[in-house]
Structure formats: structure tokens, C-alpha cells
């Protein structure tokens, strides 16, 4: 099931993943799932995928970018499958109000997170990579294997629906 061989030091590989990427991946999972236990489970799934094809993973131009993409996609799917999803986002209007008019301005990453449930999976991923990872349009398009106009359109849709001014 898992690749391995005499020359493959599995424990060393795991330690590299832990020390280089653990914080980033766990942070992304916690940001989306808002629960430490579930974030840890999700993180383990993401790294298990990396370990299942470790040589391919290492050959990625940016292993970190790959991991963040997989983590984002994985967590969005976890959220999509939850019945509590809608309930979790009952505070959307409140969040928007606070973000734009309230005394306690929420960070953009929190606004993005709170609005995700309104959008399809690809728009969710595009919004996270653009607003949270602060990738450029071109980088997001390349990561999601979509054209720049397509990604721009999705981000414009996200901005319009969430009441943001497009920048």
C-alpha cells in the first residue's frame, strides 16, 4: 500500500514533513475546520497522501504549495459533508457587518472563512489561495489548473457576493 524500500528512510521522511511543513498544514486545517482534533485528523490524512507517493511529492516544484492545495481541498470537502455546515455559518451576516461597519474589524482571512459556504468548491479554493495565501491570480490559476480569466471571474463573484470591493 505504501511505497518503501531499503533506501527509503520512512522515519526521516516523516520528520522532514513534521519539521518543515507541519505548522503550515496544521494551520490551514485549523483555520478551516476550527477544531484542533479535527484539524489534526485532517493534517494526518494530508501527510498520509504525501507519504503514499513520496517520490512524486518530493518531485513537486513546490512541495509546500502542493500540501497547502491538498489540505485546502481536503478540509473544504470535510466541511461540505457536514450537516452542521449551514448552522456554522449562521453568523455570516454578523461577520460581514462587523467586517465593514462594526467596531471590531475582522481580518480578511476570517471574513473569507466565514463566507465560504456560499460558494462552490473551486471558488472556495480560489478565494483561500488568493486572499489567505496571497498568491497572485496567475499562481492561483496555475495551481487550480484553470485559466486566469476563469479564476478572476470566480474571485469577482466571491467579492461581489461577500460585499467586498474588487481590488
Amino acid at each position: 500500500m505504501i511505497e518503501g524500500g531499503r533506501s527509503f528512510d520512512r522515519r526521516a521522511a516523516l520528520h522532514e514533513l513534521y519539521s518543515k511543513y507541519g505548522g503550515s498544514v496544521y494551520g490551514r486545517c485549523h483555520y478551516l475546520l476550527k477544531d484542533r482534533s479535527r484539524a489534526e485528523d485532517a493534517m494526518q490524512d494530508v501527510f498520509a497522501k504525501a507519504m503514499s507517493s513520496y517520490s512524486d511529492f518530493r518531485a513537486e516544484a513546490s512541495p509546500l504549495t502542493w500540501l497547502m492545495k491538498i489540505a485546502t481541498h481536503h478540509c473544504l470537502n470535510v466541511l461540505r459533508g457536514e450537516r452542521s455546515w449551514r448552522k456554522a455559518f449562521e453568523g455570516i451576516q454578523q461577520a460581514k457587518a462587523e467586517a465593514h461597519h462594526g467596531p471590531h474589524v475582522l481580518e480578511i482571512r476570517e471574513v473569507v472563512r466565514n463566507l465560504l459556504s456560499r460558494f462552490d468548491l473551486e471558488t472556495q479554493a480560489a478565494a483561500i489561495h488568493y486572499h489567505v495565501d496571497e498568491m497572485t491570480l496567475e499562481e492561483v490559476a496555475a495551481l487550480l489548473k484553470r485559466s486566469v480569466p476563469t479564476v478572476r471571474k470566480r474571485l469577482q463573484h466571491f467579492a461581489k457576493e461577500s460585499g467586498q470591493e474588487w481590488k
Binding site: 500500500m1 505504501i2 522515519r11 516523516l14 520528520h15 514533513l17 513534521y18 519539521s19 518543515k20 511543513y21 507541519g22 505548522g23 503550515s24 496544521y26 494551520g27 484542533r36 489534526e40 485528523d41 485532517a42 493534517m43 494526518q44 490524512d45 501527510f47 498520509a48 497522501k49 507519504m51 503514499s52 507517493s53 513546490s62 512541495p63 509546500l64 504549495t65 497547502m68 481541498h73 481536503h74 473544504l76 470537502n77 470535510v78 461540505r80 459533508g81 457536514e82 489561495h129 489567505v132 495565501d133 496571497e134 498568491m135 497572485t136 499562481e139 481590488k167
Partner: protein
């Protein structure tokens, strides 16, 4: 837009993924930008906090546990030289022949849903359909491909469980069901699977109206396994919503 580098770029610099001009430019920026130095520092703190919260041993054990449920690497479906012709033959032959064993749960009965396991992949054996009623012996090297008629259902998850109680996610999407198109035409899931090891392996496909968490289906399979006292022949339907299709394979 800001002139500061994006967060992901800073993360990549921190883990040593940037090289050459890109790295030098960013490092030059950091020398003069206290804001970005603070951002880098916060990323380091994030890693430190992670390591305080989750030890390496705990991380390692968790990843290894999760790795056991990563689906086996799919092997290419064996369609020899007459690939397209064989595929057409599958489409024509499969539908009238296959009567799937359906274990329905819930109050609604969906029409038209079924599942087909096609077996093939060795030069010495012809392709065949796994029997819904009987044990289906596999020859060494044979591969299994799963076809389905979704009927009115929109989601599919496929798992298998072996005699050691190990559950493997065969088809799903990042911890949840795979979204499929409703319809009465037979569609095949991508790639084919070769089951390793020996003994019995029960393949279970669940078609449902709502996405199911794979973890929930796995737990239900383990519970059914325990109820059947480890006898895969006696394993009954899983306690999950949707329509279930079971096939029992005997690995060589």
C-alpha cells in the same frame, strides 16, 4: 496591491523552497522590511506552537494510521490491443447480464441504481462480472473495475474490508463521497484496483442522496465486521443511509 510578498511566498522562503534570484530578492526585501520580518517570525512561531501541541511521535503515529486507509495505488485497467472494442463490448454486455444484489436502507426505494464489478487483467483469463450472490475467486494479477448506475443518487463511496478488519477507501473524495451524475447508464470509476494479500475481501459501494463521510462508512463497516464476528460471508448491510451493493472476493 501591496508590495510585500504574499504569505505563501514567505512560507516557501522559510522552508528553503526558493532559490536564485527569487530568494535573493525576497531576502533583500526582508532586510529593509520590518513588517515582513515580523510575518516570517510569526510563521516560525506557528511551527513552534505546532511542535509544542503535537509531538513528533504523535504526528508520526497519526500519519501512519491514516496511511493505512489511503486507497491502494490504482493499476491501469487492462484492456489489451482491442481497447476501444472491448470497452464497447462492456457497455453492451454489462447491462442486461448484471443484476446487482441491492441492500436498501431508509424508506425511499430508488429505481435503476446498480453496481458492477468487472474483473480482468491477465492474459489467461477473460473478463467477467463478479457474482452478486456468490464468492468470486480472483486469479493472481487480476484487477477489478467498479461500474455503477447511479439511478437518482448523487453520491458514491466505495470501500473494502478484509479478514483482518482493515478497511480501505477505494473511491471517495478527500474524506467524503464522490459526486456522481444521476442516470441509468452504466459508468465506470477511473482506473482499476488490484487487491493485495490473500483471503476474503468484501467490496461495498454506497450510493446516496447526500455525501457521506468516509470515516463514518469505515466505522460502520468495522461495526458490521464485529457483529459478524469477523466472518465476511456473514457481514450484513452497513448502518449508513443510501443504497448498498456488496461483493465478496477471494484473493489468491
Amino acid at each position: 496591491m501591496t508590495l510585500h510578498p504574499g504569505e505563501l511566498k514567505l512560507r516557501r522562503l522559510r522552508v528553503g523552497e526558493l532559490e536564485g534570484i527569487e530568494a535573493r530578492e525576497l531576502e533583500g526585501h526582508l532586510e529593509h522590511c520590518s513588517h515582513c520580518r515580523t510575518r516570517i517570525k510569526s510563521l516560525e512561531q506557528e511551527q513552534a506552537q505546532f511542535e509544542r501541541e503535537i509531538s513528533f511521535d504523535r504526528f508520526s503515529a497519526g500519519v501512519e494510521r491514516a496511511a493505512k486507509s489511503v486507497k491502494p495505488r490504482p493499476a491501469r485497467w487492462f484492456i489489451p490491443a482491442m481497447g476501444m472494442a472491448a470497452a464497447v463490448l462492456v457497455a453492451i454486455v454489462a447491462r442486461p447480464v448484471i443484476q446487482s444484489q441491492s441492500m436498501q436502507s431508509g424508506t425511499r426505494v430508488k429505481g435503476g441504481a446498480s453496481v458492477t464489478l468487472r474483473i480482468g487483467g491477465t492474459a489467461s483469463s477473460s473478463q467477467r462480472v463478479a457474482s452478486p450472490q456468490a464468492l468470486e475467486p480472483l486469479i493472481a494479477g487480476e484487477r477489478v473495475r467498479i461500474g455503477y448506475q447511479a439511478g437518482a443518487h448523487r453520491y458514491l463511496v466505495a470501500i473494502s474490508i478484509d479478514e483482518r478488519r482493515m478497511v480501505t477507501e477505494l473511491y471517495g473524495q478527500s474524506g467524503s463521497s464522490l459526486e456522481v451524475s444521476p442516470g441509468d447508464d452504466t459508468r465506470y470509476l477511473p482506473e482499476s484496483l488490484e487487491f493485495t494479500g490473500t483471503g476474503l475481501e468484501r467490496v461495498i459501494v454506497v450510493l446516496s442522496d447526500e455525501p457521506l463521510e468516509t470515516a463514518r462508512v469505515k466505522q460502520a463497516a468495522e461495526a458490521a465486521f464485529d457483529t459478524a464476528k469477523g466472518d465476511l460471508r456473514q457481514l450484513t448491510k452497513l448502518d449508513v443511509p443510501g443504497e448498498q451493493f456488496h461483493r465478496l472476493l477471494l484473493k489468491p
